[in-house]
Symmetry: C3
Subunit: 452 residues, 3 copies
């Protein structure tokens, strides 16, 4: 390629990309900036560049710092594989494994982490620019960022299962516009993708799993989308979280365990969680916190069952069964047309004897909960030392020892003037019926009466 | 790359791509055609080609004319930035801006426009082929088409805010099959993407904003999809519009203001508007016109609030508040499970004293409106000279001076035999109850009675 | 490109890619493996590679066998065109056609097929690896796999309309993780994409049509997604099918005729079919078979009308009208907020005089069917020898000779304890009301009574 705006990390003369691709990319960015001398004459001047990362293993020992718009970094392979499964294979079997590590166009994050450092210091890619306009249209596409190892965290679990290492894949520190993250594979990072102050951000068709936290939209932001991703955080982190966003669209994601939460929103308004498939081993799958208002939670499939894989038995997110699979604090949200499956071993309910809660309205008023179908099954939980077969087996297990009694909707006293329709029968919906509107799902006997 | 079917505009010997990339691409197309001499022997012959546009600024002074199938034009950066914000920054502050223009692989549309010319003359990319088969599998991917400026339109507003310049990004004039538009950035064009007679068209994951109109499917067509895009038209145009389409799927889009409409369908049947996030500053957000029938509008989030940005204060789409946020003319449509937020300053309702309407059925019969949640809040509108902070601020504003009285569903006398369920209480639904079926959303008092 | 991990089939020294691209790709894979000598030292070693297929016609006479992770095969054009339309154009008009064949980066599958061979022998790309870990992150992107011809199948129809040729595009035989199939065009294959034992598979934004079967997930699997595709199988095959999957997300697809089924699930649990546009010429559009449980079918648009194109008149999938457009065998599924259009010629109902069924619950219990809108129109079917205009014409036809009487929900005696809400009036829902819960959609007269 003759254009000077196309770079390849393996051919750039500065540095050694296999030893420190961070040094190489920073040198390329410096070169791009040195050539951006045009003062926007003739309606142009700073078009940016593309940096290509061929398939290969590239250690990153120097943080990449991006402060120019229109930079696209792309590879030819998202390269995900499960490091978690490998680390939980006995080490004397490793020699028999076809490969040990993720692959594709792979960045190995080897940044030295200091325990007390600013969290952003551990990011492989750090984006910040002050002044105006906001940095725009930085794109990450189709490569792998691998944090390599997790560290002991004092909990006594296998160090590689801690989901702690102080590393972040991509960290955007300042207000930004029209960023795009597509086709990436992020693995074994404490934070996969952390973005402050996003406008019109697109996070689409990525594979972000086995990270402490996967996607975190922080500070505030608007009009963004998190769509069509495969996502699964560690037991102590968030798969998708957002603070103070408006007009966020979270859709078509397949979010798998573990994840302390599948989706956690904090002060988020007028946003959508629709049409996702959500799976968790704990309560608190979707949490709308801190006055989340006027959001739509619709057409999602929620599944909560038990941890089937031995290395993580006994670990959870600390929430007990009455916490709610969906928990809402705030005004005027809509919860419409969702399916909830709670596949629970009644012997393992926490606290013992409690009734699990599916949807819990904690505070706020004017929420509209309609046409949600709750299925609760009492199943003897089984476990295995094989992650994949255990999960598939659990997923496909449909015969239990019977129905499980649950509260489908619980409205706390601090929440009122809500409307609950066809989301549970009279016994399953617990709330002050003088303070909230209610129509129970017709039962066989009551429905009989409605037929003339 | 050794294959003759891979072209790069910066290395092609004809023309200067920086001065007129249109001339270069047309020369490349001529070369492709000159090599397509095989008469489809041995089951092959005309595979097409890819034309690569590296990151850079490329003026286009000659319209590109495409009349061959299987042509892919791709860049390495969608390059969107807000030109609208920049043009509304005082010019004496421009020197402090990091950059003035969009970037990435950027086409600068410099076609001379004659006021009275056929609209298609202003298109950067013009596709037409007569005869059989229909032209197939033309692909546009990951580059930027920038219309540069808007022009005075006599309205007295800032010329760069007029959304008029006679320019179109991509214009498909004849029947086509299996086209694909992905990852593009279209900005400051009067028409972004205009496609006649589409079959199995995919418009996916693009950023099409600050265009007079963004996506227009004209004539007729079928079985296409508009999915996962970030879209926002000018105040006087359509974000998404379609005529006489069947089986169109509009989903997972985040459509932001301004846009005279977010989605406007005309004679469209058996299509879906589902699972989108839609935001507008005016009524008429989604309009089903001219006998649209058997369509599904479901699981969408509608937000209508007020213009917060000073340069556009006082501008609207001419519709008043009773017009309806969703307006339906036609038979047998389904409106199910949508959330509507109307965040309106009661002092600014038009005409003064009117009751805003959320869903309005204008004509036709047999429409099914169920389980829609309407939230209407009376909020003192605030404005700012900063577009981003004003919008975020408005989006996150949740405390108003109280509830706003609205008509959630209004059925005109010309429309009958509709069914309206759980989409408003008795006072909020205005229609002839002898001509339409109705079940009010239970209120606290009425629901009480339903509990045995 | 200097990296040894980037290959181009047109520049590799072994074989002739135009004569047998299979031989070339196998030689490249052998080269990759010969270079993977590192024993995963320094946390790396087997990153994989990308193989590029430029636009062009490449015969494949040797099956490609993939047994390494992190291999990406990519082209620059999905190249779909309708071979079906072309084959049904009179041969004396072929000289007038612009082109006869699909294009883009096109693989012509020329593998010799033996009638009695193992089905997998006819696959262009065959993936299998035993041992651990499962093969991961193989990616197929943006090229065309063309099966060229269908063969006589003894049915007496035009041989090229048989949808039988023993060829498969991509066949994954062993357990796999994080595979990705994106932007592909598959055409005229008996099986487009067949994957056994998938985990976290992504099939996204492809064009898979005019194949006997399009997407088949076999054996078992979990946590995968089939999203945003254009799909349409032959009359005797499945557009999307899956066996024993858990947590499968099927969303945002536009599935067009013919297809014996649009979506067929067998033993699938806790999965979603949401937000798709589905169109068929026969009953049995969506079938949940063999104890499918706890699945969500929501916000889909179903259209069933008649075959309008002459070459396929009289062909169907063998199901008669009472079979159901949606047919459910299993426990605790949710069917919420779907639109169904049945546009049927009452003179062509099979068997004559039968009442068509829209949703049919065959076995199992605890299913929840709510807020589905059924539109049934009696339309005189019209046909044409032009596929496109016939289909568009049929799609846009909205005026019939009147309403058609249908059973919106039929619950067989073998299925009980289901809940059916607002999905048909008392006459339209056929079931044992003592064994199932029911609330009829309010009619004009009954709804009157609910208003105080």
């Amino acid at each position: 390629m003759v254009s000077k705006n196309c770079y390849d990390v393996t051919t750039w003369p500065v540095g050694n990309p296999y030893e420190d691709v961070g040094e190489v990319i920073n040198a390329i960015i410096a070169d791009i900036k040195s050539r951006q001398t045009a003062t926007d004459v003739n309606e142009g001047g700073k078009p940016g560049a593309v940096i290509y990362i061929p398939p290969g293993d590239y250690h990153l020992r120097t943080q990449v710092v991006i402060d120019i718009s229109y930079l696209r970094i792309e590879g030819s392979g998202h390269g995900f594989t499960s490091s978690s499964i490998r680390y939980n294979v006995p080490k004397n079997e490793w020699a028999d494994l076809h490969e040990l590590w993720p692959g594709g166009s792979r960045i190995l994050v080897d940044i030295p982490i200091k325990g007390d450092a600013d969290e952003s210091k551990g990011a492989a890619f750090y984006i910040e620019r002050t002044g105006s306009p906001r940095i725009s249209s930085v794109e990450f596409s189709n490569f792998c960022i691998d944090g390599l190892h997790f560290n002991p965290d004092g909990s006594g679990i296998h160090p590689e299962n801690s989901y702690r290492n102080g590393k972040t894949g991509i960290y955007v520190a300042s207000a930004n516009d029209s960023f795009r993250v597509t086709g990436m594979g992020l693995v074994y990072l404490e934070h996969g993708l952390t973005v402050y102050h996003a406008d019109a951000l697109s996070i689409h068709d990525n594979f972000i799993a086995e990270c402490g936290n996967c996607i975190e939209l922080r500070g505030w932001g608007q009009a963004s989308k998190i769509t069509d991703n495969l996502i699964g955080a560690g037991f102590n982190g968030h798969s998708i979280s957002a603070q103070n966003h408006g007009g966020l669209l979270i859709t078509a994601n397949n979010v798998f365990p573990r994840g302390a939460s599948s989706v956690e929103l904090d002060g988020v308004t007028r946003s959508s969680i629709t049409n996702n498939r959500l799976h968790s081993f704990y309560p608190g799958m979707v949490a709308l916190k801190a006055n989340c208002s006027e959001n739509l939670v619709a057409a999602n499939h929620f599944l909560r069952d038990h941890e089937p894989w031995e290395p993580f038995l006994g670990i959870d997110n600390g929430m007990d069964d009455p916490y709610g699979l969906l928990r809402v604090s705030g005004e005027s949200n809509s919860v419409i047309g969702n399916h909830f499956s709670a596949v629970i071993d009644s012997q393992r309910i926490s606290p013992p004897g409690a009734t699990p809660v599916i949807m819990r309205l904690v505070s706020g008023s004017g929420n509209y909960v309609a046409n949600n179908h709750v299925v609760a099954v009492d199943v003897r939980a089984r476990t295995s030392d094989s992650c994949f077969s255990a999960q598939v087996d659990a997923l496909l297990t449909t015969t239990g020892s019977g129905q499980l009694a649950v509260t489908t909707v619980l409205v706390e006293a601090a929440s009122s003037r809500n409307t609950v329709l066809d989301s549970g029968d009279d016994a399953q919906v617990v709330m002050d019926r003088a303070a909230n509107a209610f129509r129970p799902t017709p039962s066989i006997s009551t429905s009989h009466a409605t037929v003339p």
